[in-house]
Symmetry: C2
Amino acid sequence: MAGNRTNSPRVGELRLDVRRDVPVALHRQIAAAVRAHIRSGRLPIGSSLPPTRLLAADLGVSRGVVIEAYAQLTAEGYLASRPGGYTEVAGGVREPADRPPVIEPAAYRIDFSYGRADVAHFPRQAWLRSFRQVLTTTSTPEFALLSGRGAPALRTALADYLNRVRGTVADPRNIVITNGFAQGIRLLIQVLADQGATRLALEDPAPDDDARPAALRAGLAVIGVPVDEQGILTDGLDDVDADTLVLAPSHQWPVGGALPAARRAAVVRWACERNALLIEDDYDAEYRFDRDPLGALQGLAPEQVAYAGTLSKTLAPGVRIGWLVLPEHLTDAVAEAKIAADRGSATLEQLALADFLVRGEFDRHTRRMRPLYRARREALVAALHRHLPGARPAGIAAGLHLLVWLPPDLDEQELADGAAKLGVFVQPLSRYRIAPVGDRRGALILGYSVLSESAIAEGIALLGEAARRLRR
Amino acid sequence: MAGNRTNSPRVGELRLDVRRDVPVALHRQIAAAVRAHIRSGRLPIGSSLPPTRLLAADLGVSRGVVIEAYAQLTAEGYLASRPGGYTEVAGGVREPADRPPVIEPAAYRIDFSYGRADVAHFPRQAWLRSFRQVLTTTSTPEFALLSGRGAPALRTALADYLNRVRGTVADPRNIVITNGFAQGIRLLIQVLADQGATRLALEDPAPDDDARPAALRAGLAVIGVPVDEQGILTDGLDDVDADTLVLAPSHQWPVGGALPAARRAAVVRWACERNALLIEDDYDAEYRFDRDPLGALQGLAPEQVAYAGTLSKTLAPGVRIGWLVLPEHLTDAVAEAKIAADRGSATLEQLALADFLVRGEFDRHTRRMRPLYRARREALVAALHRHLPGARPAGIAAGLHLLVWLPPDLDEQELADGAAKLGVFVQPLSRYRIAPVGDRRGALILGYSVLSESAIAEGIALLGEAARRLRR
């Protein structure tokens, strides 16, 4: 090895190694070494470099090699030529000090937070087969296409799937593929605001991390419409003055209701009367345990409903594919907003999902996961019954979470704080309320999708322990 | 097959097929068929359905099956129960009429538009290997992680790559992964506006589809700083009052210069003096043909420069991965903006790219593509010399496009229009100018990355033909 090296002379006081046994041009090696010395501060600004002739002799290389290295660093702004033929250090910065590697900590031992598919069961082999299929067979033009609407093959496969399984009336031309639900709702709300919308109604309580911040950023006023355990309350809807209403009729979040037919009709009537838009958040509709899923609201009124779905709850949050099925008059504007935001979603991933859907793998996956989630739900309900008697689970018919109403003597925030001290993460309901309400019953939101049955039992036992401590 | 069917009675005047040879519950088949009839308009609103007992007898199924089907459709809002035990159609919509399938037309026969890697040479096998590696070995927690900054493995691999090849000083903790350059620049500009920036300077001419619309949407004033054939002009920089300057020092777009050292220093000095941010668009720096690439500006002043890169030009536009290397004080805010926009980029794709970089596949790919693009560039320069004498190519040392300055007697727009009539797409320079300038020489932007050498020769011959027709 030493025999392959040239000499190692010093630049100023610094060693400079140049090797002939690596396939990197000598001038680039010299430039890299000098650059590193400048950056580390070992060659300070203003210090002189050895004349090219001397350094070349020391290194045993031709003078042209050193000239080229200096020229490169001069062009980059690290070196400057000074009168008299000297070359000195003109710029440069310190390397960042060594810092510990990037780590994202898991803060709780048992985490009942919500919104994730259990990726331990991600269908890795089937997904890889779809990827291989796409990489093997996709034509170059299809591969190269980047589109605001999304890959035609995926839009066609999704329309088929949603029309078959979710009862939508979806036309591939009115679908826009987005990076999950989060991007979809954001782009849609931005488009509505650009078109003159000023007031957005939401279920109260509702998620606080998608439609709500998007509306506030777009300058829309946000109005809460109360829900009960069946979903949004439609009695007072005539007094709700809004351009848009976001709702989750298949499984309200977080309370858990499935909207009854009469209320569905009332919501559609409300939207038609004022030409408002309904945004249907078709929230984990695939996971309904005790009866057939209700068809999507969109199927009843496709020109009044923008239907939004995602893979985050069914496949994996890291597969960033969501979709909007839009009324025809909104599709172009939303597709343009998607182009402005990021030019379109990743083509390969879209084509892989299309293949995955067409081959029935998605159906197989949700069918395989359903009994697994159901068993976790049952473990959770049983554990609550045992360790938190007097608490009442709600919204258990579907989804990957439930709500548990607390007995009047337990404060939800105190109980959540007590559980946190025992290493258990649970969320109180009230942080998701938009307006203060008379009904101040406490409740906790318990996501169970990624926890084993034994972790669920242990977590709820600890929650019961936290409740006992509070009552003491 | 007929033996597997039940009877096919009519609902009203409509046939209703129910099959026992498919693995779909009978009540769901009935519900689906009735739903389809309602949607198609064949069962109009208000029409009555047969009593459950009769339909069950006709179909040869138990009455409970029909009751369940009707209940499902009632819950969905398609049917309603009427006094007297009747069930009638309550809602529903027409299916969209048959429309032609989704097709995205290719408008031109020879398309010199810019900005795309040649995906015909996409390294499909190597990419698939990286995907397989990721799907086989990634741990569940890494798989499940969705982060505003991006996958730690990718940020580490990218920092290594950029520091080695592009001369940056990148720390993985200050990298944010985005969906291509487009999303990165948009999020960054939004963050700057939120923090109080009011004026954004751009090279003039510059692309019109990323920083410019993002700045206008964020409410920033846009200021153009003229460029010459070496890049941005720094003489008048002291008079430029802006919080931010976007520039492409390695290869200005569209004029094509590589910024000389003195101007690099002047730009950094300008930014330091007013604590402005430089956004470095490191535009196709990997494709430099005639000499070593210049190191990134970011390496000179990492706390003053936000460095933005993308795979669109090197790998494929449909692999939606770009990156920002940020000054430390901006990283958290940009990562939060990314979470707000779409919760983070696709995990699998990020991990695959990390593997692809670490295994040296990315280096191999750019090394393989360089001679290919160089040959196309040479074909283009030769064809221009032959068919458009008097025109002068510029910015040919790097990248996937060049600019050709036209002789004074040729108007750029007229020539582009003439070429379009012959099936050739070229872009005039002036649409990318921010301010009108005295120098009204015409120029065309010619992207050559996805065209074969023969297509290039044919396209430029047609361009020459268009010029001849104009001169007649």
